[in-house]
C-alpha cells in the first residue's frame, strides 16, 4: 500500500490535529513522543506524517510531496495555492483584520495614501485591491507588526486578531474585519483522484468527530 502523507504545521496546531487524527483511528503514538524527528509513520494504516513550518504546508501539498495538509486559513489565503479545502477543523479560530489607532476609525475610506504593514502581504494586497478598491502602500514585516503604527512606519496593520489583547495594550483596535480564520484540512488535487477512497474515508471520519 502506498503511504498517504499528511503535512502538519509544527506547534499547537499539530498537537490539536494529532488528537483529531487519533480519534479518527490513526496511530499517532510516534508523534506524541518528544523527539526531533520530522517524519513519522503509521504502518498499520499506511500513513506518514511530516512536521513542517506552517507557511510551508501549502507548498508541500501543492507539489504532492504531501497528499494532505493541516494548516491555518491565513497561510492558505496568503499563498493562494491551488488545493482542495475539504474541512474546516474549527480550531485555531481567529480573525484577519485591519487594525490601527482608534482616531482613524471611519476615516480610512477617504484617505489618499495609506501605508499598511503586515506579515500577510498578499492578503493585505488582495483586500485593498478587490474589496476596498484602494491603492495602498504595503510594507512587509516579519513580526511585532503592532509596532509599525506606533513609530510612524505605517498608518494601519493587517494581522491576525485572537483576543485583541495585544492590540489593546499597544493602543490599537480593530478597524475593519477582513475574514474569519481557522485550521483547514487541505488535499492535493492529484492525490484526491489517485487515492480517492482512502482520503474520503479519512475525511468522513474526521467530519464525524467534529460533529460530536
Amino acid at each position: 500500500m502506498r503511504y498517504i502523507t499528511i503535512a502538519l504545521a509544527k506547534g499547537r496546531l499539530a498537537e490539536l490535529t494529532v488528537d483529531l487524527l487519533e480519534q479518527a483511528g490513526l496511530s499517532v503514538s510516534e508523534l506524541r513522543e518528544k523527539s526531533r524527528k520530522l517524519i513519522f509513520t503509521d504502518e498499520k494504516n499506511g500513513f506518514k506524517f511530516i512536521l513542517v513550518k506552517a507557511s510551508d504546508v501549502p507548498t508541500y501539498v501543492e507539489y504532492g510531496a504531501a497528499d494532505i495538509g493541516v494548516v491555518g486559513r491565513d497561510t492558505l489565503l496568503e499563498d493562494g495555492k491551488d488545493l482542495y479545502e475539504m474541512i474546516d477543523l474549527g480550531f485555531g479560530a481567529c480573525k484577519m483584520a485591519v487594525a490601527g489607532p482608534k482616531e482613524l476609525r471611519g476615516k480610512l475610506d477617504g484617505m489618499n495614501h495609506i501605508r499598511v504593514a503586515s506579515k500577510y502581504v498578499n492578503i493585505a494586497k488582495n483586500y485593498y485591491q478587490f474589496e476596498k478598491k484602494q491603492s495602498v502602500e504595503i510594507i512587509k514585516l516579519n513580526g511585532s507588526v503592532e509596532l509599525a503604527p506606533l513609530v510612524g512606519l505605517s498608518e494601519v496593520i493587517v494581522d491576525i486578531v485572537e483576543s485583541g489583547k495585544t492590540l489593546k495594550e499597544n493602543g490599537l483596535e480593530v478597524l475593519e474585519e477582513i475574514c474569519d480564520l481557522s485550521a483547514r484540512f487541505v488535499v492535493n488535487r492529484v492525490s484526491m483522484k489517485m487515492e480517492r477512497e482512502r482520503i474520503l474515508d479519512l475525511v468522513d471520519k474526521i467530519k464525524a468527530q467534529l460533529k460530536d
Binding site: R189, K193, M194
Partner: protein, 428 residues
Amino acid sequence: MSNWKLYTPEGTSDLLPTQCAQKESIENSIAGVFESYGYQVVETPVMQYYDAYDTPTSKMEQEMLYKFFDNEGRIMVLRPDVTTSLARMVATKLAQGPFPLRMHYSGKVFRYVDSYSSIQREFCQSGIELVGVKSDAADCEVILCAMEALLSCGLETFQVEIGQVEFFKALMEQTGLDDENIETLRRYIDKKDTLALSNCIKKLVLDESIASLLLRLPTLFGGIEILDEIDESTLNEKARTALSNLRTIYETLAACGYEKYISIDLSLVKGINCYTGMIFKAFTHGVGFPICSGGRYDGLISEFGADIPAVGMAIGTDRLLSVLLRQNLLKEVSGADIFILSNDIARSYELATALRNEGYVVEQDTSGMNESEALIYAENAKIQGIMTVLDDCTVYVHNLLDGTKETTTIDELICDEECACEHCHGNE
C-alpha cells in the same frame, strides 16, 4: 549590476544529452500515436500578437503572459498555449475545410506562474486538435488518443478525470446570477470548499433544488454512478444534454477497455470562458499537477472569424518526463553502437559510412586515443563496441557487450555475399 551570463532564465532549464534523448523519445511515441489516428503535424510561431489572447474566449490574465514590443510598437507575447494560435490559423486559412481536420503539434509555451515556489515558466506540450466536429464520438476520440499516448510512453498508472462545464453553466443560467456571483461560486466549487460554498449560497436567493445540487457538486466525483445520483427532473435542457454527453463518453471509453483509467468529476469547473463542453485532466503519482488536459472549445475559433467547433488536448511532456523518471519507467539511453579508432579518418571513412548505412550509430575517434583511452571513453559513453583499424584491410573488433575480441577484415564487415567491390575480389 549582476552578471547573468552563467544562468538560464528563471523557470527555464537546459536539457543535457540523456534527458534530451529521453524527452525526444517520449515526444516521438506520443507523435506516433497521434499520427496513427490520422493527425497531421502543424506549427505556429512562438511569437504571437497579444490581441489573440485578449478576446472574451481566449483571455489570459495579463500577469501570466511574457510580453514585449515589435519595432512598430505592437504588443507581442510568447505563446502561453498552442491551441489559440491554431484557432487563428484554422479561422484564417483552413475555414473552408475539408472537415474534420486533425492536427497535432509539439512545442514550447511560456507562462509566468506563481512567483514564489513554482519555478517552471517554459513548458513543452504535445497536443492534438480535432476541428469541425461536434459529437460525443469526437470527444471520446480525443480522450482515447490522450490515454494511448500516455500508455505509449510507458506510464502505467494514471487517472483521467472527466467533467462538463456546460452542466455548471446551465445551472447558473437557471439561477440568473450575475458574473461576479457565478465566479465566486465557481471558485468555491473548484476548491471543494463546501463551507464557503454553503455560506455563499445562503446569502444568494436560489431555487432550493439548484441550491442543494450546487452544494453537492464538490462531492460529485467518482464512477458513472454519480450521474445516477442527480435528479434530472429539475434540470433544464442544456444541463441534461451535458450529463448525457458525459454518460456517453464514460460508457464508450469503458467499452473500449479504459474504465480503470477514467472517472467523472462534476466539480471540474476550470477555464469556463474557453471550454464549452466536456473537459478532462489526467493525473498520476509523483507530480502534484495534471500531466494532460483538454476539452471542447466550440467558441474559440469564432473569435478569429469562423464559427467552427473543435475539441483538443495537450500533454505536458516535461512533466510527463519527470514523472516517468520518478516512477523509474524511462528506458535507458544507450551511446553509439561502434567507436572506430584509426589514425586517419579518411582510411576508416568507408567502413564508418558502410556501417552507418546499415543503421549503426558510429563515432569516429577525433582525438588520437590509444586503445586503453578508448576503452575508458567507451565505458563512460556507453558505447557497445570498439573497432581498431589496423591497416587498409584488417580491423580489430572488441565487442564490449559480451567481451569477445577478434581480428577480421573490413570487407567481411561491410560486404555482403554478392558484393563485387575491389576489396572483396581484388585479393583473391
